[in-house]
């Protein structure tokens, strides 16, 4: 049995990760899934959150939001609408976004759209902070 699988993480603009990994934690739409090699085929929408994986002892982390996860026995593809590596994340900006979103949730302007949007913004900011290791 293989002890690793290929993990590919891409956004429409660029390819972020393509390497052999032993294990990955992926935020799917209905909660985190842990993936080990030889997983059965699985297809799900991607949620908002922190994606981590183990590449030969090194733990790497990304913030992802929206898209698809396709799991095959020897390969996992994450098609994210947005994705940033931990070291690329602008922590200050994420913090400000989080504050703004919380502010808006406390005093919602009008309509459900606004609340949904603020919630999403908050979850994206939280994912960024978490992935950057300063949540």
């Amino acid at each position: 049995m293989a002890d690793s699988f290929e993990l590919e993480i891409a956004t429409p603009d660029r390819l972020l990760v393509k390497e052999r990994v032993r294990e990955a934690q992926i935020p799917a739409a209905k909660g985190y899934i842990g993936v080990l090699p030889e997983h059965s085929p699985f297809l799900e929408l991607l949620g908002i959150g922190e994606l981590t994986y183990d590449a030969g002892g090194r733990r790497a982390s990304l913030a992802v939001a929206g898209g698809f996860v396709e799991v095959l026995p020897d390969r996992v593809r994450v098609l994210a609408e947005r994705a940033e590596r931990a070291e690329e994340i602008d922590v200050e900006r994420a913090r400000r976004a989080l504050e703004r979103a919380e502010e808006r949730l406390k005093n919602p302007l009008e309509g459900k759209v606004d609340i949904a949007r603020a919630l999403n913004a908050m979850r994206r900011a939280e994912a960024r902070l978490q992935a950057s290791g300063r949540g």
Binding site: K18, P41, F68, E70
Partner: protein, 286 residues
């Protein structure tokens, strides 16, 4: 016969132009490299998404209900949306002229339907605005960055209009990057979506009903199609400009050679004439 001063001035002017065309060629070369890099970077996502969509299409064709998904079903094309991607700047050889010609041919061909245009790029905008075509939107400066986020609002607009039955089909007309020397005109139907079905579809475990996946996959596929076209068009534009500027630089070189030869002849002739004058003057004195 032009005077020496005129010729010198002419040569200087051609040389100045040549310097500009050479600089533009170098700028285009750098931009082309960047544009090609972006095309390569965008490819993994696009390829994976297409595979997922083809897989879903295979699943859809097995079920009558899924095959009736509104984004997959053709209807009589009475109102057509044409998205034309031209460049913002000129001096790119026949890049825009070919596109505009093809767009006019498209209008002619679909003269039975009502065609509305969404124009990306200043060149196409200027042309069709002047001719009073039905225009639903204009996008200038979009191709410069060609970021995915920039194309999303346009794709959403197309999906909304299609869903509201304001339009029955969306076509895309653009130049695809083929090689340094050649672009290929592409006319592609974006909506309704045309998908090959995967030959051996993967059976996934999923708690999600397939129609829900289709509802997310298909609009995403439309966005990626537009994004890809924009990236290709940008690469093709820089390649076309590079080729055009290279040709212009070579032509300027030839012109300078010709003029220099002419200048030398004229100069030689005037020197000869002066000598003759001096000699004949001296002879007259004897």
């Amino acid at each position: 016969m032009p005077s020496l001063i005129d010729l010198r001035r002419r040569i200087r002017s051609v040389r100045n132009t040549q310097q500009i065309t050479r600089a533009m060629k170098m700028v285009s070369t750098a931009r082309l490299r960047r544009a090609q890099d972006r095309v390569l970077q965008a490819r993994p996502y696009a390829r994976s998404l297409r595979e997922l969509a083809e897989n879903a299409a295979a699943a859809a064709s097995a079920s009558e209900r899924l095959a009736r998904h509104p984004l997959l079903v053709r209807r009589p094309e009475e109102r057509i949306q044409l998205i034309l991607i031209t460049s913002d700047r000129g001096l790119a050889g026949a890049f825009n002229a070919n596109l505009i010609k093809a767009a006019q041919a498209f209008l002619q061909e679909h003269s039975g339907a009502r065609v509305e245009m969404e124009l990306i790029g200043r060149k196409g905008r200027d042309f069709f605005r002047k001719r009073g075509a039905a225009i639903t939107g204009e996008h200038i400066g979009l191709a410069n960055r060609a970021r995915y986020d920039d194309i999303v609002p346009l794709a959403d607009k197309m999906l909304r209009r299609y869903a509201a039955k304001e339009i029955d089909a969306v076509y895309l007309l653009y130049n695809e990057f083929k090689s340094m020397l050649a672009q290929r005109l592409e006319v592609r139907r974006v909506l309704p979506i045309e998908l090959r079905e995967a030959a051996s579809p993967v059976e996934y475990i999923t708690e999600r009903p397939p129609e829900e996946l289709l509802d997310t996959l298909l609009p995403q596929y439309v966005k990626i199609t537009l994004h890809h076209a924009l990236l290709e068009s940008t690469a093709a534009e820089h390649a076309a400009r590079m080729t055009a500027m290279d040709a212009a630089t070579t032509n300027a070189e030839e012109l300078i050679d010709k003029l220099t030869l002419h200048l030398n002849r004229v100069r030689q002739a005037s020197i000869t004439r002066e000598i003759i004058e001096v000699v004949s003057g001296a002879t007259g004195l004897e």
